[in-house]
Symmetry: C2
Subunit: 467 residues, 2 copies
């Protein structure tokens, strides 16, 4: 049986995949052992039955220093399908090791979108070498795709699509599809166009199959369709696919002519990446993953930590104002991180909700005020609960009721401010056309840290607890 038939009861015990569709460690080990022993035949026989997505995973799971040997051993299995499934960093590294003519062979067999995905990351000189090695039609198509901005619909789309004139019948369409040999076989709808190649309607294949031959295609097609401008950002393309549950969509140029098609399988990766990206961006880890070169990870992350060093110094500056108070009552130094820390957590909660709501277009001008009121209400409830616990605890442990009252009050203030900042900062950044996921954390943390120390130490002095 094939490895892609994955029903549990049929699964052979020797399957290379575990329950979560991940390559088993023993399997990866056995392939790499064969490669290290120079037994390419053995490695090839193990890899051959794998799905392209699993071959891509295998390369990713191989230590970087062994990848060239593995790639050499299984070179002819590493085709375009495998490369387009591969992690960007790993692919770039692998591609750098291939000759331009090998790359051209791979690119020629792919749809434009996959070929572009591979070629766009090359250096300029390599790009030219690969393009030269392609035949003129492929080269023209890929060069045009490369002329669109990165991460735009133009880069994502494939040129291979089926477009038919309005006056054809269902029978005409079927005959055309049966007789033309050089058409793509990967399509889920056909586009109906006018003589100027403007899309006038779309037709799911199931509608064609369920309709008698004599019916005109214009009676089967749906006129309303979601058109994607060729320069639209891929993130918006993904949101549009998601919102309207699209399987594929026509891409049009500035004059409204049909120039390509985007299918959902190209978009699914983007949906997942964009949605998962926010967790990384909020944490200040950039857009990296575990395959990113260490140098790039270092650069992305240290920038963030330096920014946090400055916000932490602002908070320290506030503590420094109260140094005599701390010297008088060291309990203040012991307790002050609690107020700052809980405030930071409360702010992060609200911020994560707000950033997600902005990213999914749930939070718009129409419900901003309502969302602020909502988050402030939750913050006050949370603040009151934690304040009660902490106030009573501090009063008991330090035998000082006034200290308990001060820390409880500071807690309510800080969690309230955290809730407010947690919505206002991302919403404000969005209004300023900044990505709220990238910068919100620094601001919110600065607010909650500083306010935590200021409210607690300030109230301690103002209330006459110390001073």
């Amino acid at each position: 049986m094939s490895e892609t038939e994955l029903s549990p009861e049929d699964e052979a015990p020797e399957s290379e995949l575990d329950d979560d569709d991940r390559l088993k460690h023993e399997f990866v080990r056995s392939v790499l052992d064969a490669v290290e022993l120079g037994d390419d035949e053995e490695a090839r026989s193990k890899v051959e039955p794998l799905h392209p997505a699993d071959i891509a995973d295998l390369v990713e799971l191989t230590p970087a220093e062994l990848r060239p040997a593995l790639a050499a051993a299984i070179a002819d299995f590493i085709d375009g399908d495998v490369l387009s499934e591969m992690n960007d960093w790993v692919r770039d590294e692998l591609i750098a090791a291939l000759e331009p003519h090998q790359l051209a062979d791979i690119a020629a067999e792919l749809d434009t979108d996959d070929a572009v995905a591979i070629i766009e990351d090359l250096g300029e000189e390599e790009q030219r070498a690969v393009l030269r090695a392609l035949d003129p039609d492929d080269r023209a198509a890929i060069e045009e795709a490369l002329s669109y901005p990165e991460e735009s619909a133009g880069r994502l789309m494939q040129r291979e699509l089926i477009a038919v004139p309005e006056y054809w019948t269902v029978g005409d369409v079927i005959d055309y599809l049966r007789t033309q040999d050089d058409l793509t076989t990967d399509f889920w709808e056909i586009f109906v166009v006018d003589p100027a190649h403007h899309p006038v309607g779309t037709c799911h294949l199931s509608w064609i199959l369920r309709t008698p031959r004599v019916v005109s295609i214009s009676d089967v097609m749906k006129r309303e369709q979601t058109l994607i401008p060729v320069d639209m950002d891929q993130e918006e393309v993904a949101l549009r696919f998601q919102k309207y549950a699209l399987i594929s969509a026509a891409v049009i140029d500035a004059s409204g002519r049909l120039v390509g098609m985007i299918t959902v399988d190209d978009v699914v990766h983007i949906i997942s990446e964009e949605a998962g990206e926010d967790a990384l961006l909020l944490s200040g880890a950039g857009d990296g993953d575990i395959n990113e070169p260490i140098r790039d990870s270092y650069k992305a992350r240290v920038r963030w930590l330096v920014a946090n060093l400055f916000t932490a110094m602002v908070a320290s500056g506030i503590i420094a104002i109260f140094d005599t108070a701390i010297q008088q009552m060291v309990a203040l130094a012991i307790l002050m991180p609690i107020v700052a820390s809980i405030g930071g957590n409360a702010g992060t909660q609200t911020m994560a909700i707000a950033v997600r709501a902005l990213a999914t277009n749930q939070l718009t001008q129409s419900n901003t005020m309502r969302t602020i009121r909502r988050e402030v209400t939750v913050a006050l409830l949370n603040g009151a609960t934690i304040a009660l616990l902490l106030g009573v605890g501090a009063a008991l442990i330090f035998g000082n009721v006034a200290l308990g009252v001060v820390i409880a009050s500071a807690m309510v203030v800080n969690v309230f401010v955290a809730g407010l900042a947690g919505v206002l900062v991302p919403v404000g950044l969005e209004r300023l056309k900044q990505d709220p996921a990238v910068a919100s954390s620094v601001f919110v943390t600065m607010v909650t840290d500083s306010m935590g120390f200021f409210a607690f130490l300030g109230l301690a002095v103002a209330s006459g607890l110390v001073g």
Copy 2:
């Protein structure tokens, strides 16, 4: 022109959508004004041209207290398509306001998967009332779907699919599709089954359309196909769709018989939710969104803040050990939050990367050791950089070189520990079959806070900086 034709240059100025496909505030306002004035006709005429996804958005953007009036005004536009696009919380609230027979009318017109999505959230009594109002076929299909675990493939699949015997020709299939009136029209592939209804192959519609009538379907179909067990968790279904770039897939029961079909449009929402969920879970905001009832948000978040209160108290306990040192040198109290805070940020960065890599099956047993080495290396580079800046800064500001050396050393230690904990905690939780996104933050923060204070204050004492 229709509102779903969204090419930028064609977009009429009076379009209800902004550049990001969100309903414009003025449009929402104008509909709600009409509702509030009791002018249902006006409201209906504005809502009628909207796409179901936009009607769902409109209801979400309407303040909760106005939703019943809006729903009453546009009742007949709120069909199954609109409900299945709607935010869960908002839908539940709206459904609670509908009569069982209204719900049954809506459920009857939907594919099983969408009907189940609406019915599964009802209370038991309402569920029974709706089921009673359905006709027996629909009822049986929905009852069977409800018998599968929540969030499983069985809940997600639709029963409406096309299955044909192996011995048919392409012509037989087309004639069958043309003559049977009660078949679904939403399908992208047909399944070929043996007499016991086990799937033996799958056939994209494009392959059928490109093949002459006389060819046997078994010569067109692909035998390798990805089968989904009916009890598979929806998150795994989503990962499988993503990994193998599926448009639709057959669902089989425990005996391998074809029982349903899942299409990618049902999975796209899950991919996005699961990927976006991690940011929320890591922040301790639960699985909420801005539409979650305040009571639920409070419960989800306060639990987390209480947990953080305990970890913050552990950190405070460590500070308390060094109270005499702080009294001797208040600069320690001023600087100690910096060490804890930067450590926390570094830990969060690594943790976000590790959690994402686990969620996307990038991090497996095969590369765990390598990933740990990688993260520790990045942590040491980051720690050294920040330590240098902070050490020199502290030495200059406080005019105390020894203090600079102590805080720099503590910084390196804490960022190193943060990097280690940032990988080990999520990987450990995953090994223990816990969701790393849910619990990692608490542990990592506790480690970096406690270690930050301990390393800094401990080194200050051990080095003789304070006595």
